[in-house]
Amino acid sequence: MGGMEAGPVDLAEHDYAPWEKRVDAILRLLSAPQRKILRVDELRRGIEELGPGAYDELSYYERWIASISNLLIEKGVITIDELGRKMAEVEARHEAERTKGGKA
C-alpha cells in the first residue's frame, strides 16, 4: 500500500467496541507463545487472501476475525459445520435477548 495515491488523513477516532476488543483478545490468545495455534504471519497472509475488496468493504477487525476464522478452519481447529451451528445458536440467543421484555 505504500506510495499509492490517497486523500488527506482523517484524524477522527472511534472508541473500540467490545466485540472488536474481543477479536483482539482472541488473536492474542491464539498467537501467544504458550499456544502458538496461529502465527502472526499466517494471520497477515489470511487477510491478504481476503481479496482486494476487503479493504473497502470490511473494517479492520472484520478483516481480522475473517482471517482468524478461515485459518482455524484450514487448520482443523474448528470445522465449518460446528462454526455454522454455533453462529446460528448465537444469533438465536441474541434475538431472544433483544426482543424479550420489549414486545408483547
Binding site: 505504500g2 506510495g3 502465527r39 504471519d41 499466517e42 497477515r44 497472509r45 491478504e48 487448520k75
Partner: protein, 101 residues
C-alpha cells in the same frame, strides 16, 4: 547462527521480483538501493511461516536505509530525508561497486 552476509554500511538492492503470496518486501521498494543500517538477527522466514511451515532455516533480518529521492523520482522534501525498513536476506543483493552510491 551463521555470520550475516552483509556488514553494516553495505550497499544493497531489493531484488526486482514480483512473486505472488505473502511477501514482506514492500512493492514500492523493489529494485531500490540503500545501505544496511542494522543487523537485527535471525528469524523464521515469513514466506514459509505464513503457510504453516515453521521449522525451516532462519533468515537474517536487516534494516536498510534508503534516501527518499532514490525511491520516489518526484520526492518533494529535502534530499536528506530517508526511509528505514526491515528486509530479509533473501530479498537483498549486493550493489555492484561501480554503481554504489
Amino acid at each position: 547462527m551463521s555470520a550475516p552476509r552483509f556488514p553494516l554500511g553495505a550497499a544493497v538492492r531489493i531484488r526486482r521480483a514480483w512473486p505472488p503470496g505473502h511477501v514482506r518486501a514492500p512493492w514500492y521498494l523493489r529494485g531500490c538501493a540503500g545501505v544496511i543500517c542494522h543487523q537485527v538477527g535471525e528469524f523464521g522466514n515469513p514466506e514459509e511461516m505464513a503457510y504453516g511451515r515453521y521449522d525451516g532455516a532462519k533468515l537474517m533480518l536487516y534494516r536498510v536505509r534508503f534516501r527518499q529521492r532514490d525511491i520516489w523520482p518526484d520526492y518533494k522534501g529535502p534530499t536528506r530525508d530517508t526511509l528505514d525498513v526491515e528486509v530479509y536476506d533473501n530479498w537483498l543483493e549486493p550493489v555492484e561497486k561501480e554503481e554504489a552510491v
